[in-house]
């Protein structure tokens, strides 16, 4: 009896544990409605939204200002925006499903839009946002994607990034207005077209072998691809959405490669690798280079180096700063000759296109408070916050009213974006596979300028075209060779 009792107790224990630990199978399969339908306009109350912002915005205090203003406005709802305190380059596709990602992300369009295919970010009702009318269509397009036959907008543009020309005004020839202003428009010719820049760079180097006119790392596709785009090349077809159509060699893109090789001839071998990317700040500052290209967000780094140089020359900090601000000029890229030969005089010029990106906000599909997140995005892309962002970070707003009010560089960039001279980086995930083949090609092209006569690869139109076709094929191979058909 005793034994039986023990056995019964054991079985009972077993049964109790089974019952107590069971889970409701139904919970897994019970779908909750999310997606754009979730943006009902009714704000979630007492929620904390984690915002992943740009590191510079955090460092310079803009993000703090933004969060304080937002939290103050929405305190009656109990909505609190906080710094997500995560790596700027986190992978939402891997982290989001497990609840680790932020609720709102601020990134470049190519980074954000790669999340659309897996539906890791939400399609937004952008028409309801305050900034909608003020942002040009080209900027919205960078955040549009076709999913299941419908076009969705999955991000809100904040600011425009593109390559700009930095130069030292005090290194212009003293008599430039008489010798380097052929059209008498009070703009030095070398800043107006690449042919004059080529001539001037040659002159600078011939006068002092340690100095150079224009110097840039041709290895970097971000700076070099624009020359191909200017002559008809493109990355992906159908507005950078069709990866099957790779058109780096389309149109007269070979002329762009000719220009790049000609530019390499006025530089030294440092243009072949990425050395200049690191040393350009110092070398523009100390006068080794007259001009280079970079993005507007590094203006302060260039400025610091120039101030240091002036201080070394004996000026006080204030004097050096004032002089540096006067002499460091950032402007749009010079024009290209239509015939693609910058070594010869030319009368026909066209705009130089450059590769650019649009940074913006997106909302994670894994957020619990989509409406509060949308309110944050709306608030941070308002006119006032855009102006504040411009003031703190010097960025070029994607909003027309803010860009116009900020003037200067912001207005130039906005105008270039609106006129299509900034080619926005593709927003499809295949863009990740273009960089290494393009790096290699541009490096090879730059190297060719320093190869001996008989060893040069790129001499004729056909050889340039062959080079472009090879790089297009490499990208195609990278994307499609190993792809498993869905």
């Amino acid at each position: 009896m005793k034994k039986r009792g023990k056995q019964l107790l054991a079985l009972l224990l077993c049964g109790v544990l089974f019952v107590g630990c069971g889970k409701s199978k139904g919970s897994k399969d019970n779908p909750t409605s999310t997606g754009s339908a979730l943006f009902q306009g009714e704000l979630e109350r007492n929620v904390t939204i984690r915002v992943l912002e740009n590191d510079t915005a955090i460092e310079r205090g803009y993000f703090n200002e933004l969060m304080n203003a937002f939290n103050e406005k929405y305190k009656e709802y109990g909505i609190v925006a906080v710094d997500a305190n995560m790596d700027q380059y986190l992978d939402l596709a891997n982290d989001g499903p497990y609840g680790y990602g932020p609720d709102i992300l601020y990134q470049a369009n190519d980074v954000l839009m790669k999340y659309v295919k897996g539906k890791h970010i939400l399609p937004l009702p952008v028409e309801s946002l305050d900034c909608y009318e003020q942002i040009p269509e080209v900027a919205w397009k960078a955040y549009q994607s076709e999913v299941d036959g419908k076009v969705y907008t999955c991000g809100v543009p904040v600011n425009v990034q593109a390559t700009m020309l930095y130069y030292r005004k005090d290194m212009l020839p003293n008599d430039w207005d008489t010798t380097w202003d052929a059209n008498k428009n009070s703009i030095p010719d070398m800043l107006e077209n690449w042919s004059a820049m080529y001539r001037y760079s040659k002159e600078v180097h011939e006068a002092d072998s340690k100095k150079y006119g224009y110097m840039v790392s041709l290895y970097d596709p971000y700076f070099s691809a624009g020359y191909l785009f200017s002559y008809g090349g493109y990355i992906f077809g159908q507005n950078n959405t069709d990866p099957k159509d790779i058109g780096l060699g389309a149109g007269d893109a070979y002329k762009g490669t000719m220009v790049l090789k000609q530019l390499a001839r006025i530089m030294n071998e440092e243009c072949i690798d990425d050395t200049i990317k690191r040393s350009a700040y110092t070398k523009l500052g100390d006068g080794t280079y007259f001009a280079t290209v970079s993005t507007p967000d590094v203006y302060t780094t260039f400025l610091k180096e120039l101030i240091l140089t002036y201080e070394k020359d004996g000026l006080s900090n204030d004097e050096a700063k004032k002089k540096a601000e006067e002499n460091l000029v950032i402007t749009s890229l010079p024009k290209l000759p239509v015939n693609g030969d910058i070594t010869q005089e030319s009368n026909e010029f066209m705009e130089t296109k450059s590769m650019g990106g649009i940074n913006g906000y997106a909302i994670s599909a894994y957020t619990n408070a989509p409406n509060a997140c949308l309110a944050f995005v709306d608030f941070s892309t308002s006119y006032d916050m855009m102006m504040k962002r411009n003031e703190y970070l010097g960025i070029a707003p994607a909003r027309n009213d803010a860009a116009t009010a900020a003037g200067g560089l912001s207005a130039i960039l906005y105008e270039k974006l609106a006129s299509g001279n900034i080619v926005i980086m593709p927003s499809i995930q295949e863009v990740a596979q273009i960089w290494d083949p393009m790096n290699t090609f541009f490096s090879d092209l730059a190297k060719d300028a320093f190869r001996k006569e008989g060893e040069q690869k790129y001499i004729t139109k056909e050889s340039y075209q062959k080079g472009l076709d090879t790089v297009s094929k490499q990208i195609n191979d990278a994307i499609f060779t190993l792809t498993t058909k869905e």
Partner: protein, 492 residues
């Protein structure tokens, strides 16, 4: 002829005699045997009064046997029940809870996990429509974990039965079952190895075996490219391995890189090993003054993190680096040490930089081993007229090699999979004759290009398996043929 027949007769007679002798001996043995075979029980057979007691004992024994068998059976049916019936309550309950825990896991998660690893998901997730769906990768990991848990449970289950059997045996021997306290004491004493090894084995199972098995399984799926969650991954069998050797763009690159990889591994290991040995011997010389001071230099190179050293070397050899500054300063043209035309220059720089990073390790190791060497051997050889090279070849080198063979193999494997050298020195180049690789890339770099840069995780995993097979076969072959293995117990 007559002589032959005589001999035959003699032989036949001898054989007959031998046979007779054998028969006699057998008969004698038979006479002795009955005494030997008489069992003591049979000797007391006449005393039939003991019979009822014996039967009682036998019955008791039988019932005890039945009881113990039923306890073993009880534990076989429900873990811990046998122990509980033996009044080993704590142990029994622990086994029982483990049993329940596993049953709970298996019914509510395990079956799903096993089903999941087979199907790798049936419902695609869609966050916009609110469909949670299946995550193939998670299902794969949970499936592997399920198998590991099943194996661990089976081990516990077998142990549970063995435990009841041990207790049964103790009782048969007239001993009492061990108390829980005694069992715990054993775990801290006689079976201390089990207590110590339990956590590491569990850790190794989860943190080492799961990722390795995961990687192996990935090689047999289509995970990569466009097929990443929320897309559902499928099993594709040997398709990835087939692609490795049959794809027209792929196969030539694979074999080209494999050849260079083997050359790199052999040459760089040799350079590092002999370089380190040479330095150790040099600094071991009696005539060298301030040995500690000189030894500090290679140690400094060793102490700086490898990737910083590599980036520093990359800068040194770049077009804007100090070496080219000196070359151009002297009026010569800059040299593209690491650019896309610099196949062999870059490879040689790779050997050099790797030597810079790795030689100090071998030097330190060899210095330690050399300090244990019996110098009288070398001195005796010297007296016998052996020159320095002969003494090195016959005495010093075999002595050092004996102790360092396993390290040498580790270095070989490390060099075979040396990702950092060419990733930092010359990464990001895709050359024309290679598929998403350059002429200095090793298999591990190519694997990175494919799996990380281009998201082909499946192909990356297949290459990993090939690398694993190559390095393990090569290393095992060398190791089992080495003196270190064959004369493991010998101390030279």
């Amino acid at each position: 002829m007559m002589e032959e027949s005589k001999k035959r007769k003699e032989l036949e007679e001898n054989q007959k005699e031998d046979e007779n002798k054998r028969i006699k001996q057998k008969e004698l043995n038979k006479q002795k045997e009955p005494n030997k075979l008489i069992k003591p029980s049979k000797l007391i057979e006449p005393s039939k009064q003991i019979e009822p007691n014996k039967q009682i004992n036998q019955n008791k024994r039988r019932s005890e046997d039945k009881k113990s068998q039923s306890y073993v059976f009880a534990s076989a049916c429900i873990m811990g029940l046998g122990q509980i019936l033996y009044k080993q309550y704590i142990k029994g309950i622990l086994y029982f809870l483990l049993f329940l825990g596993f049953l709970f896991y298996f019914i509510f998660y395990g079956i799903d996990a096993i089903q999941g690893i087979v199907t790798l998901g049936t419902q695609k997730a869609d966050t916009w429509l609110g469909i949670k769906g299946d995550n193939s990768i998670l299902l794969l990991i949970m499936g592997i974990l399920a198998f590991i848990l099943i194996v661990l449970f089976l081990c516990c289950y077998i142990n549970n039965i063995k435990d009841v059997k041990r207790t049964t045996l103790r009782i048969k021997q007239g001993k009492k079952p061990l108390t829980f306290r005694e069992e715990v004491a054993q775990l801290l004493d006689k079976k201390f190895y089990l207590s110590v090894l339990f956590l590491p084995i569990l850790g190794v199972s989860i943190f080492n075996i799961v990722p390795i098995v995961f990687m192996i399984f990935i090689a047999f799926t289509n995970y990569g490219g466009n097929i990443v969650p929320p897309e559902l991954v499928d099993w594709v069998g040997l398709q990835n391995f087939k692609k490795l050797v049959t794809l027209s763009q792929f196969a030539p690159t694979f074999f080209r890189i494999l050849l260079w990889n083997l050359l790199w591994a052999v040459v760089s290991t040799a350079i590092n090993y002999f370089g380190g040995l040479f330095l150790a011997l040099l600094l071991n010389k009696k005539c060298v003054k301030g040995k500690a001071f000189w030894r500090a230099f290679p140690v400094l190179a060793y102490a700086i993190p490898g990737f910083i050293t590599l980036l520093a070397f990359k800068f040194m050899f770049s077009y804007g680096g100090p070496i080219n500054q000196m070359i151009t300063g002297a009026g010569y043209k800059a040299i593209g040490f690491l650019d896309l035309d610099a196949k062999w220059t870059a490879r040689i720089i790779g050997f050099g930089v790797n030597a810079w990073i790795s030689i100090p390790t071998t030097m330190l190791l060899a210095t330690g081993i050399l300090s244990n060497m019996d110098e009288t051997l070398s001195e005796a050889a010297k007296i016998d007229g052996a020159g320095p090279w002969k003494r090195f070849k016959k005495i010093t080198f075999p002595f050092v090699l004996f102790s360092t063979t396993p390290v040498l193999i580790t270095q070989f494997m490390g060099n075979f999979n040396n990702f950092g050298i060419f990733y930092f020195l010359r990464g990001g180049l895709y050359l024309e004759d290679y598929f998403l690789a350059s002429d200095t890339d090793l298999l591990i770099n190519w694997l990175y290009n494919l799996s990380i840069d281009n998201n082909y995780y499946n192909i990356g995993a297949a290459i990993s398996l090939v690398i694993f097979l190559l390095t393990s076969i090569f290393s095992l072959l060398i190791y089992v043929r080495s003196h270190s293995y064959r004369e493991e117990d010998t101390f030279q």
